[in-house]
């Protein structure tokens, strides 16, 4: 009996420890390293920053290391308006995209819950499917359509809406199209999940008491779906702030989003400390939304109040 209890606790411990240690090592520890390197200086060396922590030098090495940490990376972030403008642009794009997604995604999610019960799983699957197919390819598909002699302009010309071919690519419009297109499943799914759980007798009661449909939507459905609105909005807003692929392929080069700036500092300028400082600042910006999202996620998956 005793041996069994012992083995259970060992087995249970292993089940917890494996993912726990993995995440500590590959998710949490890297952030500490990013923080550390954001306080370092660029150097022409391998790896391209100093100081490198030299544990072999003992105490002397450690104090030396701490003395040579600098805030230079952050000073650069604060002094050069390029970075601030990138942050602001990212926030603007994320806010507008999320609003667009909500306006477009809500009617779709609502429409699915209103359709026949037997049809709903198929419709949900059709909405989720694009999330599985490549992000990169879905963005690329839009280059095909949006280019100057692409299909969109063909259609617009044929319909007589435009008479010359307007430039769609390399603009904020193209970025918004790409964002809405790529993140639509992330918005529709949480909305559908809350709308579907709603008690329909509430709407029946409202109708019996003479409440018009638009009003019962406004007073009953919408307030009850707010957790889904919050979950969907966060699920879109947070990754969009740091998005790289969409603005890089569809947007122009005049103003960069912060993900692009980070990418450029890292890959083009090879300035690891500044790239790390950008990441730390971006993370600081996103901590609050991420915490909010986690609370929602935990509440949904673990039934916590």
């Amino acid at each position: 009996m005793r041996a069994r209890a012992e083995s259970r606790s060992w087995g249970a411990r292993a089940v917890l420890l494996l993912p726990y240690l993995w995440l500590l090592l590959f998710f949490l520890a890297p952030f500490v390293i990013v923080l550390k390197i954001s306080l370092s200086q660029t150097a022409i060396a391998l790896p391209p920053y100093v100081p490198v922590l030299d544990l072999a030098a003992g105490w002397q090495g450690l104090t030396d290391f701490f003395q040579r940490l600098t805030l230079e990376g952050y000073r650069l972030l604060a002094s050069d308006p390029i970075y601030l403008l990138s942050y602001l642009k990212s926030l603007k794009v994320a806010a507008i995209s999320t609003a667009l997604l909500l306006v477009i995604g809500y009617p779709i999610a609502y429409g699915i819950t209103r359709s026949a019960r037997s049809l709903q799983p198929l419709l949900v699957m059709l909405v989720v499917l694009p999330f599985w197919t490549s992000f990169l390819i879905r963005v690329y598909a839009w280059i095909n359509i949006l280019q100057r002699d692409g299909l969109l302009n063909d259609v617009l010309l044929a319909l007589g809406i435009v008479h010359t071919r307007p430039e769609w690519l390399s603009s904020d419009t193209a970025i918004y199209i790409g964002m809405v297109y790529s993140y639509l499943p992330f918005m529709v799914l949480p909305l559908y999940a809350t709308l579907e759980k709603m008690d329909e007798s509430l709407l029946e009661a409202a109708a019996d008491l003479g409440c018009p449909r638009w009003k019962s939507f406004w007073l009953v459905t919408l307030p009850l779906s707010l957790p889904g609105v919050a979950a969907g909005s966060l699920l879109c807003f947070i990754p969009i702030v740091g998005e790289f692929v969409i603005p890089d392929l569809l947007g122009g080069s005049q103003s960069l989003m912060i993900g692009q700036t980070l990418w450029m500092e890292f890959f083009a300028n090879r300035d690891w400390p500044v790239a790390s400082a950008i990441a730390v600042a971006l993370l600081a910006l996103l901590v609050l939304p991420i915490v909010l999202y986690e609370r929602l996620q935990r509440r949904q998956l673990e039934g916590l109040r």
């Binding site: 993912p19 690329y140 095909n144 790239a275 673990e302």
Partner: protein, 270 residues
């Protein structure tokens, strides 16, 4: 009471058209005979033949498939453990930290995850390339596996497990004979999701790769930056078909699992 208005049908139809039309157009143009991507020159398999001769693309595809299979398998084991820990272990100290680490990667911007993992590998002095991408993808995708498996673990009737344990079945055996078969469809779906996410990732792979390891998305990205090419339309079509098949299989599995689960629960109640 359920009334489907014309408005509802139109919004759903438009939404689905918006989601699928660009991909359909891409697929159609991959069969275009013309070298000019915007001019239709009749149906042809020319660009697929061209792809077969492209060694670099084939190598990248092979590397991507191996990375996806390895990382998805590791992620499924670790992610399932995390899901079991979160649903079956009640409260433990630092649970909040644990669940935070599980859910945060789902929304974390990829540039941050990629950069931080790269700096970790540099700190360890690891040779960057194939294996660092595998580790990075395992970390990213295990969290998706956890969410999928966790949803299933919460959903099913715990009285089956309790009955087995009351009859003296040890916990580990209960897990193997009762729990595991019930959540197997979700585990399989989790593996497939992890596989397709890994196959698809550009940003994290770009950060964590080294000389010699080029994945398919990295290769496609470098081509796409130079402009639209018919060969890229063809490789994208193959890519979408493969991932689409995996996705459909996974969702069918989840659905079948749900039916079986309901039956099991019903049987238990009788």
């Amino acid at each position: 009471m359920r009334r489907t208005s014309a408005f509802n049908i139109v919004t759903v139809a438009l939404g689905l058209a918006f989601l699928y039309l660009p991909i359909v157009i891409l697929v159609i143009y991959s069969f275009n005979a013309s070298r000019l991507v915007t001019v239709w020159g009749g149906w042809s398999l020319r660009w697929y033949a061209e792809l077969l001769r492209d060694d670099a693309m084939r190598q990248a595809a092979w590397a991507s498939l191996r990375i996806a299979a390895l990382s998805a398998s590791a992620a499924t084991v670790i992610g399932t453990c995390a899901a079991v820990a979160l649903t079956r272990m009640g409260r433990f100290r630092t649970r909040l930290l644990f669940s935070g680490m599980v859910y945060a990667p789902l929304v974390m911007p990829e540039v941050i995850t990629g950069l931080s993992l790269l700096l970790l590998f540099v700190a360890f002095n690891a040779d960057r390339g194939f294996w660092t991408i595998v580790f990075a993808h395992t970390t990213l995708t295990m969290c998706f596996v956890t969410v999928v498996v966790q949803a299933r673990l919460i959903g099913f009737d715990r009285s089956l497990e309790e009955a087995a344990m009351n009859l003296g079945c040890p916990p580990f055996k209960t897990f193997l004979t009762i729990t595991l078969p019930l959540i197997l469809p979700a585990i399989a779906a989790g593996w497939m999701l992890a596989f397709s996410l890994s196959l698809d990732d550009l940003v994290i792979a770009s950060f964590t790769t080294g000389p010699g390891a080029t994945t398919l998305p990295i290769r496609i990205y470098s081509e796409v930056r130079l402009g639209v090419k018919p060969e890229i339309n063809a490789i994208c079509t193959i890519f979408v078909t493969v991932v689409g098949l995996v996705a459909v299989t996974a969702s069918l599995m989840l659905k079948r699992g749900a039916v079986r689960r309901e039956r099991a629960a019903f049987g238990a109640r009788v």
